[in-house]
């Protein structure tokens, strides 16, 4: 090889590049780049990725081979002051390296477009899921399935789903890495995205667009289940929603309060042991009953009034070390007065308890 490189550098380079390219392609195909494939779009996108990698390796190898070979083989000896070959250019080479990349990118563009068309194809009888992003939680509701509302996303396997993505406040981005699809939630617009889950399992909905301090923690669970389990889950949710209303009216206020706490997304920012949340973006609520007494007194409010004001007008009073403008100020619109009362009672009842 060494002798060949010295005598016929161009031929030696071609051989060396060919071998490196083959090795490179084997490596890029062997690496497991993506999370598991959980939608019918995933294999298509992964194949497209593989094709792109196969097309990229020879380009990379060629550039590296020529550059590396040149700096080793054409290095001037110390004291050698001679000039290199006075070559000013070569029109034929220029034409070649304009044409070949042009053909390559055109072919890839056409292939990309075909995959795109395939994924965006119209569906028959899709399950509609409304997705709403807010700082810093996701909410899902199923308008055709008895208007079930949920903070976890449950989907039946092998059925087309159409997501209609909205946001209550800033930009968010709805992304399930295992589905390979993501789309922005834009204020004032509804974004649609279609896919078909193809693998039973538990994944995460991730927010991919910087949306404020809780961006990193804005995650929700996705469960892909069998169609039977899905129907059962819908039925159960419908039941519990009626029960939930009854419980709030009748007795089990703690359960209703805890549900409100997670459904409204409070847990994304506030630590509360009873609701198993441990985020530190906003003030922790485990000592709330004592704090509410203390700060309420400062503001001439009862503890209940203090907590309620803190939810509806978060900037009216600031706990030391926390800043204005971080907590969304629209909970008065999101929550009904009854829900607000339930939440306040719940918060004051579970905070300050002795924890084992």
């Amino acid at each position: 090889m060494g002798r060949l490189l010295r005598k016929r550098p161009a031929l030696g380079m071609a051989l060396l590049s060919g071998v490196s390219t083959a090795v490179g392609i084997v490596i890029v195909l062997a690496i497991d780049w993506f999370p598991v494939q959980a939608s019918t779009a995933s294999p298509q996108i992964d194949t497209l990725w593989d094709v792109l990698m196969i097309a990229s390796v020879p380009v990379f190898v060629l550039v590296m081979a020529v550059a590396l070979y040149s700096v080793f083989a054409f290095r001037a000896e110390p004291g050698d002051l001679s000039d290199g070959e006075p070559i000013h250019g070569n029109t034929r080479l220029e034409v070649i390296w304009v044409t070949i990349p042009f053909i390559m990118v055109s072919a890839l563009a056409v292939y990309g477009w075909i995959v795109l068309d395939d994924i965006e194809a119209k569906q028959t009888d899709p399950l509609i899921v409304n997705v709403t992003g807010q700082q810093f939680a996701w909410r899902f509701d199923y308008p055709d399935e008895g208007k079930v509302k949920s903070t976890e996303l449950v989907l039946p396997e092998d059925r087309d789903v159409e997501f209609r993505v909205n946001t209550d406040d800033v930009l968010h981005d709805f992304w399930v890495p295992e589905f390979r699809l993501k789309t922005d939630a834009v204020p004032g617009l509804t974004t649609k995205i279609r896919l078909k889950p193809s693998r039973i399992g538990e994944y995460d909905v991730v927010c991919a667009e910087l949306c404020g301090l809780g961006h990193a923690t804005m995650r929700s669970a996705v469960r892909v289940v069998t169609p039977e389990d899905f129907d059962a889950w819908i039925a159960k949710e419908q039941q519990s929603e009626t029960d939930g209303g009854a419980a709030a009216a009748g007795g089990d206020e703690a359960a209703a309060g805890k549900q409100l706490f997670t459904e409204t997304g409070c847990n994304a920012c506030h630590t509360l042991a009873d609701a198993e949340s441990a985020s530190a973006i906003g003030p922790g609520l485990d000592e709330l009953s004592a704090d509410a007494e203390k700060y309420g007194e400062q503001n001439d409010q009862s503890p209940e009034e203090y907590v309620k004001t803190s939810i509806t007008e978060p900037d009216a009073f600031l706990v030391p070390d926390f800043n204005a403008g971080i907590m969304p100020a629209d909970y008065a619109e999101q929550l009904s007065p009854e829900e607000l009362d339930t939440l306040v009672k719940y918060l004051l009842s579970v905070s300050g308890e002795e924890k084992p």
Binding site: E85, V105, D184
Partner: protein, 571 residues
């Protein structure tokens, strides 16, 4: 000159004498730091630009290292989410608006007049104004450290950047930075355009202009084309925040997508604004150190212009996940692909320049030869991101972070360091240490690849960008730890070059006029050049005027049109 009694007496005698001689507008040359504050000399302004931008580079680097420390382990608690978002926003903004874009203005200020054989820029006072606008932009922005840094990222997407979500003054400081540095770049660009069009040496037609000057001309036109869009956008954001307008607020009938279109109409050309001058420097350095003419001069110059033109037509590829009609996005996918072609032309021509050269292995060549190798990775990942079904997975992940750093660090910053090592002898009259320079290169090269190569994988496995922490169960710890270690190596490598500059500026070997046997006219004059640059400007007969002059000197003939400056025999 202080006024001495003899001096005063002489002046009064002169005043009594007839005919009266009156000189208008002649001021005494200030000295010391005042000379720097009041200067309109393009070389001094260039040095001030380089000094200020490297200072910002170090600040931005410290911010980057804090980000990496926070992400080194899962559930990091080094900084609060608020501080983290501030660091992310300041790092991106600093590196782009206060380092890479203006550092080119610094190099161009110093070297464009020298390379085209001019004695200063076309508008010297305007030139000083551009520097001071930049300095005040940086001060206004860093002033926000004392109240509340911006928290919406360097892109400041509305409505997060609106007063409802970020009421503190940080975003306002960011807006003032964009306006001040934008004005600075705009007047600077007009100055470069006027200088390059009108002040070239005799004989320097468009086909004989150095490729770095071609790239600066293109950079300037791009700035003029792109900056008004962002200036309009940030003005609208300012009135949204403080004067009750609703340009970007959907509740008032505005549209947050408008911000993204305006931002990226500027933002994508900005990428080429940052990379084209690096391409220009490489096109100067490679032929000098390969001792061979540049391969395909016309192709490279044409590719520069083609990239700039196409660069104005690709902005929505940053918006592939927004609700935009598919036909529009397909257009932007195609145009983004097309850019790969002229970029490829450049890379192929550079490596063809090295082929069969007689290569001098000096530090500037190390940085210059690494650039095509690193940039090809950023270029390939760019093509992959332009395939928009794949972009659905990769958008807003660490894959994009890796891509932007391969382009901006592997491309622009390696180009900046190549330029620093190449031109330092001209600016200071002294050589940088080769040993320390090469060591710095290797530490930077290894550190850079360790930091950013693994970030591709982190992104592909689902790590979104701009997150302040991640759970251990996500499985990204290994990638992030490697990245953090790499970033500190990279920092050490950069500091080695900083030390090299500080030591060599006083103690470096004397450089002489032309230590590298350069091709272009800046090597014709002394190091550092006198205030008027050239006593006599030679007539230019090719792309490599210095090679012509050396050849004539070798033949023993006095080169035409040159008298004053001796030509150094090299090292």
């Amino acid at each position: 000159m202080a006024t001495t009694p003899e001096h005063a007496a002489r002046i009064s005698r002169l005043q009594q004498a007839r005919p009266e001689v009156v000189m208008h507008g002649l001021r005494e040359e200030p000295r010391g730091w005042l000379a720097w504050l009041t200067t309109t000399d393009h070389k001094r302004i260039g040095i001030m630009y380089l000094f200020a931008t490297f200072l910002f580079f170090i600040l931005g680097g410290v911010e980057a290292l804090l980000i990496r420390l926070q992400l080194a382990v899962p559930d990091g608690t080094l900084v609060t989410p608020e501080t983290y978002n501030g660091l992310v926003s300041m790092h991106g903004t600093t590196m782009i608006f206060l380092f890479v874009v203006p550092v080119w203005a610094g190099f161009a200020n110093y070297f464009v007049p020298l390379m085209i054989g001019a004695r200063d820029m076309a508008f010297p006072r305007l030139n000083a104004l551009s520097f001071w606008l930049l300095a005040f932009g940086g001060i206004a922005f860093y002033g926000s450290l004392f109240f509340e840094p911006p928290g919406a990222g360097w892109t400041s997407y509305a409505p997060l950047s609106d007063d409802a979500y970020l009421p503190g003054g940080g975003v306002d400081a960011w807006i003032f930075l964009i306006h001040l540095t934008g004005l600075s770049s705009l007047v600077g660009a007009i100055n470069f355009i006027a200088t390059i069009h009108n002040m070239r040496a005799r004989g320097m037609g468009w086909g004989r202009m150095p490729l770095f000057v071609w790239s600066i001309l293109t950079y300037s036109y791009l700035l003029v084309a792109a900056l008004p869009a962002i200036a309009a956008a940030v003005t609208m954001l300012l009135t949204d925040r403080h004067f009750g307008t609703d340009f970007f607020d959907a509740n008032g009938g505005g549209d947050p997508m408008l911000w993204q279109h305006l931002f990226w109409f500027f933002g994508h050309p900005e990428v080429y604004i940052m990379i084209l001058p690096a391409f220009g420097i490489i096109s100067e350095i490679l032929p000098v150190f390969a001792r061979k003419p540049i391969f395909g001069y016309k192709a490279i110059a044409a590719a520069t212009v083609a990239i700039a033109f196409l660069g104005l037509l690709v902005w929505a590829h940053h918006m592939f996940t927004t609700p935009t009609s598919t036909v529009v996005l397909v257009f932007f996918m195609m145009s983004s692909f097309l850019i790969a072609v002229p970029t490829g032309i450049k890379i192929f021509n550079w490596i063809a320049t090295l082929w069969r050269g007689s290569i001098m292995m000096k530090t500037p060549l190390y940085f210059a030869a690494a650039l095509p190798a690193l940039f090809v990775i950023g270029g390939i990942s760019g093509v992959i991101l332009a395939v928009f079904p794949v972009d659905w997975q990769l958008h807003d992940t660490y894959f994009v972070v890796a891509h932007i750093h391969y382009v901006l660090f592997g491309g622009s910053v390696f180009g900046i360091f190549a330029g620093l090592y190449y031109w330092f002898p001209k600016m200071s009259g002294r050589m940088l240490s080769e040993g320390l320079g090469k060591a710095s290169f290797w530490v930077m090269f290894v550190g850079f690849n360790l930091t950013f190569l693994v970030q591709h994988s982190a992104g592909l496995s689902g790590m979104p960008r701009r997150i302040y922490d991640y759970p251990e169960s996500a499985g990204w710890w290994g990638f992030n730890l490697a990245s953090t270690i790499g970033s500190f190596l990279l920092g050490i490598g950069v500091m080695m070059s900083v030390v090299n500059v500080i030591v060599s500026i006083k103690k470096g070997q004397k450089a002489g006029n032309d230590p590298w046997k350069g091709n272009t006219l800046e090597w014709f004059t002394q190091s550092p050049p006198p205030e008027n640059n050239f006593d006599v400007v030679p007539r230019v007969r090719s792309v490599e005027p210095m090679k012509d002059i050396r050849r004539e000197v070798m033949k023993g003939a006095e080169p035409a049109g040159t008298v004053a400056q001796p030509v150094a025999s090299g090292t």
